[in-house]
Symmetry: C2
Subunit: 384 residues, 2 copies
């Protein structure tokens, strides 16, 4: 199969917007096309991710709408939806389209808009990503699921609420350095620990916010990418699924889909966890970051909390995690998140991340999780 | 790229069901796996299509749910949504996964369930596939869009309401021969012409019904397919997009996305319209079949109505169209439709279509349209 590179990235400011999801995507896509330095007419396919547009905007079939708004109404367009992993899933399929030789230049990304509906509606719509037959009627929303995961991790390994709070403090500190982040304000350990419980043991500041935003990437074949000033290569991308039902998961302290997706991506890339210099991973809740750093092979099972506490995952630490601020501080427009994570890693590997730059980063990893840990995609990227 | 074949097909009865979309898909998928004669563990990826599950079942992230219900919870799974073209779009991407060498065996299909909500809600949810900014507020539902298309075709070419009625009569006659069809009852020209106007000039019997149902296909690489009793080869598959906005379309008597998708598929297959022996195409309204038979190159522009009137598209005619009964009589579970059309063509090319068999069919075509003619996929199939 052919090599694939990311040659353009674009991300809107994350936060509250008065634009539709399709408009947010189009704005990010225009930036990505400009960044790539290509003619819009060079784009041969559009891979678009969105989750709740039917619920929040009464808009399905959003792919062709995004293409139309972008001025590319005839480009073959597909909408993807895999809960919060949506645009990372779309990215993986877009890589396949180029790798297979079908296309040379593909635009991929996503957008989400939820701050136009009341918070309780947004919570409800997000819960549609859980099983509707048993789990939704039981009231198992996402904070509840990740509270179960947190409790299992605490019981098994002694992980503490303070360790989880360190993740929030670190990601807010990083977010200050990212002008696109929803929150650009440091918070103290005390602020996190004194915030109200949302789902015990998770408190308000353990949770990522609701966010509007869009993100886009231009992918290219090697032949096209070689003409770009700074192509960032896709070294590997792998997806894994796990049972939809929380009650069927054998060990809530682990996310087995993360472990399997990582294994596939490392194998494809010919890399190991020690090769990775910078990571953007799915910290929808602080415990999610801790479990992910273990599942991705960076720290032994049960030591992810210690890693956060010791600052190993901070900018300047041994493995900076979520220099963008992560979902926690940068924000989490669910249909855009995967593409935004990739945009950050590309920016880091280009050496263009300004005050949040991880010095000398040559290999980066992105990890995105969907639903009750039922979809995970992991990708690895490298520079020349 | 590698050759790809369909080696298994499964379709539920179309009509009213008390099962969820994911359950309907799982039932169809189990049949497709049995038909393929493979071990379920051979499946390496799941491509799943659904449109309105968020609205009708409060269920998003339906891919992993379908995989879980099917007993394949760890297979990488993606949900696709492109309005009524959803599972044909999913099919095209699944073909790419095998063609690229990533996988050898992929399960693809879709499901929809709408008869659990009131008809006015179903109409509203389907309209979400139109633009929410201008067209929905104007009340432009799908019957209205296709009424505009019908009027344009009548004005330009003299197509008559009677010619459109012939499409309905023919597809109902075919539906009688299909035990899976929602309607298995002949109707007369008079019944169609005397039915109530839904959106002038379209009457009740010019419209396809709301339908619950699921459809699934097992795709395989050439190496795997050669071991199957009767592989049906994917000769070409192409997607095209058009502007989302009806007011931007230059000529409503044509569907340019159909013309472009067909051109791409014919070119890829090295075939012309005269090579095609049997067709399953998107007759969501009778006028849609007439316009599609022209756009696919079977009849000159403006003569699609005459072709229906003369019986050229009937079983026994020069080019049988929709031997399954089409969306009109077989039914239209929108997330399943594309996969169900492909299942019919595979059955025809195997020579296993029983009383609706097109004698000696060697080359077949499927055509699926999404939204306000904004997404079209055309695929060509052949037997050894």
């Amino acid at each position: 199969m052919r090599r694939v590179a990311v040659i353009g990235v674009g991300v809107t400011k994350f936060g509250k917007h008065d634009r539709t999801s399709a408009e947010l995507f189009a704005a990010a896509a225009a930036d990505a096309i400009t960044d790539a330095g290509i003619a819009p007419s060079a784009i041969q396919a559009l891979y678009f991710g969105n989750v709740t547009g039917g619920e929040t905007e009464r808009q399905l079939h959003m792919g062709p709408l995004a293409a139309t708004l972008l001025g590319l109404p005839t480009v073959p367009t597909t909408r993807f939806e895999n809960a919060c992993a949506t645009s990372h899933v779309a990215f993986r399929h877009a890589v396949m389209e180029i790798a297979s030789g079908v296309s040379d230049v593909v635009l991929v990304g996503g957008a989400e808009r939820v701050l136009n509906v009341p918070t309780e509606s947004a919570t409800e719509f997000f819960a549609y990503c859980s099983d509707a037959s048993l789990e939704q009627p039981a009231g198992l929303t996402f904070p509840g699921v990740f509270a179960l995961i947190a409790r299992a991790h605490m019981d098994k390994y002694g992980t503490t609420e303070e360790q989880m709070a360190h993740v929030a403090v670190k990601n807010h500190r990083h977010g200050v350095l990212n002008p696109k982040a929803q929150f650009q304000k440091e918070i103290s350990l005390e602020t996190v620990l004194k915030s109200a419980y949302v789902a015990d043991p998770l408190k308000l500041f353990d949770c990522c916010p609701f966010t509007d935003g869009g993100a886009a990437l231009v992918l290219a074949s090697e032949e096209v990418a070689r003409r770009h000033r700074h192509p960032i290569w896709v070294l590997g991308t792998h997806a894994a699924t796990d049972t939809m039902f929380v009650h069927e998961k054998r060990d809530l302290s682990r996310v087995t889909a993360t472990e399997r997706a990582a294994l596939g991506a490392y194998r494809q890339a010919g890399k190991t966890p020690t090769d990775v210099d910078v990571v953007e991973l799915h910290d929808c809740f602080t415990i999610a970051e801790i479990v992910a750093t273990e599942g991705l092979g960076f720290f032994e099972p049960g030591t992810g909390g210690l890693a956060a506490e010791k600052g190993w995952t901070s900018l300047g630490g041994k493995l900076p995690v979520n220099p963008s601020g992560g979902l926690k501080a940068k924000g989490h427009p669910i249909g855009a998140t995967g593409a935004a994570q990739i945009a950050e890693i590309v920016t880091q590997l280009r050496g263009e991340a300004d005050r949040r730059q991880v010095d000398g980063a040559r290999t980066g990893l992105t990890h995105t999780l969907g639903g009750n840990t039922a979809t995970v995609v992991v990708s690895l990227f490298g520079r020349d």
